[in-house]
């Protein structure tokens, strides 16, 4: 039965390759054909996962391939594991992606990027399932990167507009910056323990465990949009709503929290890191809650709501309440997906509700605001409008000076090696 595990990941990836090859060779598939092929891929993954479900009660399933590549002492083998932790998130992923496929077949209907959307959705499906059932960090890295790549291409889905493209670049910068943590953590784990498994860490000293755990926390902050890497999320809402639901409501945003849940043994060896996670989660929750009250559009409010909930999940992980964190993660995925998919028809639903009630329904959600004095509310509103000044402070004290130095060096380099280009003065 273990052979079913690679099929779970391979099915959507093969669909991605098939759709991509057909497009490159000039074959024009109909929308129904694209959706049907995507459904088949997800169905195969779902059936495989359901066949493996009984192993949940017997401690999970492990798949260990021959080496993918080997040089000297070092080898990269594909280890997959449907552990008790990964079972429900994986099942939830295929089910939610199936739902989003169904929704998108009408929502993206006749859009020029219809094929591009489904290409990226399949790549994402393969990536997120690799993150969930990757047995070692280096295998998870493959999925982690695929999730990042598909995410930025879907943020820039409406590529003829300036804002989505800028949002995609911003998300990509954040992802790649934080991914350095995961890359270095993998190399260090290999050096300390001889492999990249998070289960085989008995050889680690306390300092080594703290170092690796901190690097994994850095990696998780980017994907989960936690403080101080939270600024990209509202800008990512320029993408199509179904992809926002899949990425920032249901799955991608929880990848960081899942990574930390997977690193539980490591975190147990490093209480200081756990407190760092709690503090980051708390700051993010407060900042996102505050910001969500000031944004004007529904999708940004939902994204900030998701960010706040993931902040709470981080707090639960930091405090060691893993089961609660896992249930919170699954429940939040489902609820937030529903909210995102309902977002385009919010006004319609609002008016229908009022009409059904026979009049105006009093606004809700103002309860906690009343505890804050009026003068402070205004100040907080300004803070909330700028998302807690996180980006401003980051730029002024960290990125700004770096960019200034690079610009000075670049000017000197440009003077030394000017380029005269066709129809343009040298920049």
């Amino acid at each position: 039965m273990t052979y079913l595990l690679p099929i779970v990941i391979a099915a959507p990836f093969l669909v991605f390759c098939l759709l991509g090859t057909l497009w490159l060779s000039g074959v024009a598939l109909s929308e129904k054909g694209i959706v049907a092929i995507t459904r088949v891929g997800l169905l195969v993954s779902t059936v495989c996962l359901l066949r493996l479900l009984p192993s949940f009660f017997t401690g999970g399933t492990r798949f260990h391939s021959a080496d993918w590549f080997r040089v000297g002492e070092y080898h990269f083998s594909i280890e997959l594991e449907l552990s008790r932790l990964a079972t429900f998130p994986s099942l939830l992923a295929v089910l939610l992606l199936g739902l989003i496929t169904h929704f998108s077949s009408r929502y993206i209907h006749r859009d020029r990027g219809f094929l591009r959307f489904f290409l990226m959705l399949n790549l994402f499906a393969s990536g997120i399932l690799t993150v969930f059932i990757g047995g070692a960090l280096d295998v998870m890295l493959v999925g982690w990167e695929l999730v990042g790549i598909s995410s930025v291409f879907l943020i820039a889905f409406f590529q003829e507009r300036e804002q989505p493209v800028a949002g995609a670049l911003r998300a990509f910068i954040t992802y790649r910056t934080c991914d350095i943590g995961l890359l270095v953590a993998i190399v260090l784990l290999h050096r300390f323990t001889g492999n990249a498994s998070l289960d085989d860490i008995s050889k680690l000293t306390s300092q080594q465990a703290t170092l690796v755990a901190c690097l994994l926390v850095l990696a998780s902050l980017g994907k989960s949009a936690q403080f101080p890497f939270s600024g990209w999320l509202p800008k990512a809402m320029e993408g199509p709503t179904p992809s926002s639901a899949a990425f920032y409501g249901a799955l991608s945003i929880h990848a960081g929290a899942f990574l930390l849940l997977k690193a539980r043994h490591l975190l147990e060896m490093s209480p200081a890191t756990c407190w760092v996670i709690v503090i980051i989660g708390a700051v993010t929750t407060l900042q996102a809650t505050l910001s969500s009250r000031a944004v004007a559009d529904a999708k940004s409010a939902l994204a900030l709501g998701a960010q706040a909930q993931v902040g709470l999940i981080f707090i639960e992980i930091g405090l060691g309440w893993d089961k609660l964190a896992l249930w919170h993660l699954c429940a939040h995925s489902v609820l937030r997906t529903l909210e995102f998919l309902r977002a385009p028809s919010t006004l319609h639903a609002y008016h229908s509700m009022h009409a059904a009630a026979g009049g105006h329904i009093p606004a809700t959600g103002q309860f906690y605001d009343r505890f804050i004095p009026e003068s402070l509310r205004l100040k907080l509103y300004r803070v909330a409008l700028d998302h807690g000044w996180v980006d401003t402070l980051l730029y002024r004290f960290f990125l700004g000076p770096l960019v200034a130095v690079v610009n000075i060096i670049l000017m000197a380099e440009q003077r030394m090696a000017p380029i005269q280009e066709k129809g343009l003065q040298d920049d």
Partner: protein, 427 residues
């Protein structure tokens, strides 16, 4: 003896074709002769029996393919193949093909040379066909390296600093990196690739295999970060590709200098990735520029994907492979390099993932500025990728992806190179 005759035949074919294309006037004939010669050279190099170990310095060997030069030889054939198919007709009219053939023949002579003098001679001749296209700084740099290398090699241990100086000059390590950006700015995109992508500096280090070159790894990593930082801010696509080339190819030296099996194997994999990817990127930009009335710029979004979707896909896949995206050969190369470099240089090795992350941001920034956003120029009657461009893009992308999925068939050769390098008497 048979292998040495085959090597002479492979190099001789390039020279004969070079002379033939010098006299040809018809562009299609020039391209056809160039393409067939490049293909014949590639197949010839692939079929030559490989001598074991590092034959360099063996007085009885004039020229031969051994375990050190096999991958550089194949990469140089690949370079020819890609440039001849990607080059626009205007480039072929200006003698591009005969110059390339003679230059690569001299480079292959340097790769296969059994003696230091012959290697130095090949290196000194290789850049002369492009003399007119190169900037004065580049000419001085190459001339200086051409003098320092043979003298240094002849003086043995006393002249080691001269060999290192020649390596730094030819590899374009800081502060001798200026010739690369100048070459990118001065001539045709693909001429620059032919000069830069022979990686003479890395090859000399591989051949001479000095263990005292550990500090070169530090310098290479420093250069990689320096170039990566400037690449993130530059607004000229020419210079930006130059920074990318400097940064990514500095990794080659870092891996070879680490003297670990992972580092050397990673370097040799990356050698192929850098040659294939950067040449495709340059070819795509040359193709775009030949179709447009103004030079490409990164100052604003150009929205070219709307008109050139296939070129856009080729660009992003080659670019992501260059910076180590999963499921490509670049991923395996970067993974091995990172393990090798961090094992040999635990402190400064951290610069490698940082530079990789910055280069990835540069690639995505280039892609988003060139291909995404609002369309700024009317390009209604301009074709997307031509059949020959599609052929070469498909071949290279297939190589990068299949190589990434099944890297095992490339790695034994790279591992053998490590043994040949580390057991050489010069070590």
């Amino acid at each position: 003896m048979i292998s040495q005759l085959t090597v002479a035949l492979a190099i001789g074919t390039l020279l004969v074709s070079g002379v033939l294309t010098f006299f040809l006037k018809n562009v299609s004939s020039i391209r056809a002769v160039g393409f067939v010669t490049a293909l014949a050279n590639f197949v010839g190099v692939l079929l030559i029996p490989v001598a074991s170990g590092n034959t360099f310095g063996n007085q009885h060997i004039f020229i031969d393919v051994d375990q050190v030069n096999r991958i550089p030889m194949l990469a140089s054939s690949l370079l020819l193949f890609v440039t001849f198919l990607m080059a626009p007709d205007s480039a072929l009219r200006s003698g591009f093909v005969w110059k390339s053939l003679v230059s690569i023949a001299a480079t292959q002579l340097a790769y296969t040379a059994g003696s230091p003098w012959l290697m130095s001679l090949g290196i000194a001749i290789a850049w002369l066909p492009f003399y007119q296209e190169l900037s004065p700084v580049t000419r001085i740099t190459f001339a200086l390296a051409s003098v320092l290398l043979p003298v240094g090699l002849n003086l043995g241990d006393k002249g080691i600093w001269m060999v290192f100086a020649a390596i730094i000059l030819r590899k374009g390590l800081f502060p001798a990196h200026g010739w690369i950006t100048r070459t990118m700015g001065a001539g045709h995109w693909l001429t620059a690739m032919l000069v830069i992508n022979t990686h003479i500096g890395a090859f000399v280090l591989l051949r001479t295999s000095h263990t005292s070159a550990v500090w070169l790894t530090d310098l290479a990593l420093g250069t990689a970060v320096y170039a990566a930082a400037l690449g993130m801010r530059d607004l000229s696509p020419r210079r930006t590709l130059g920074w990318l080339s400097i940064s990514q190819s500095a990794f080659l030296l870092a891996g070879i200098g680490s003297q670990t099996s992972e580092g050397i194997a990673g370097s040799l994999l990356l050698w192929q990735v850098v040659v294939a990817s950067t040449t495709i990127l340059a070819g795509i930009m040359a193709a775009l520029e030949s179709r447009m009335s103004v030079s490409l710029t990164l100052k604003h979004s150009s929205g070219l994907a709307a008109r050139f979707p296939r070129l856009a896909v080729g660009f992003i896949i080659a670019g992501l492979a260059l910076v180590g995206a999963p499921m490509t050969l670049g991923f395996c190369a970067e993974d091995l390099l990172m393990h090798g470099t961090l094992a040999a240089h635990p402190r400064i090795g951290i610069l490698l993932p940082i530079a990789t992350a910055m280069n990835a941001i540069t690639v995505f920034r280039m892609f988003s500025r060139l291909f995404l956003g609002p369309v700024t120029e009317d390009l209604t009657d301009v074709p997307d990728a031509l059949p020959r461009e599609r052929l070469v893009m498909t071949a290279v992308i297939s190589f990068l992806i299949l190589g990434g999925l099944v890297p095992g068939w490339l790695l034994p050769k790279a591992a053998a190179t490590h043994d040949a390098v580390t057991t050489h008497p010069g070590n």
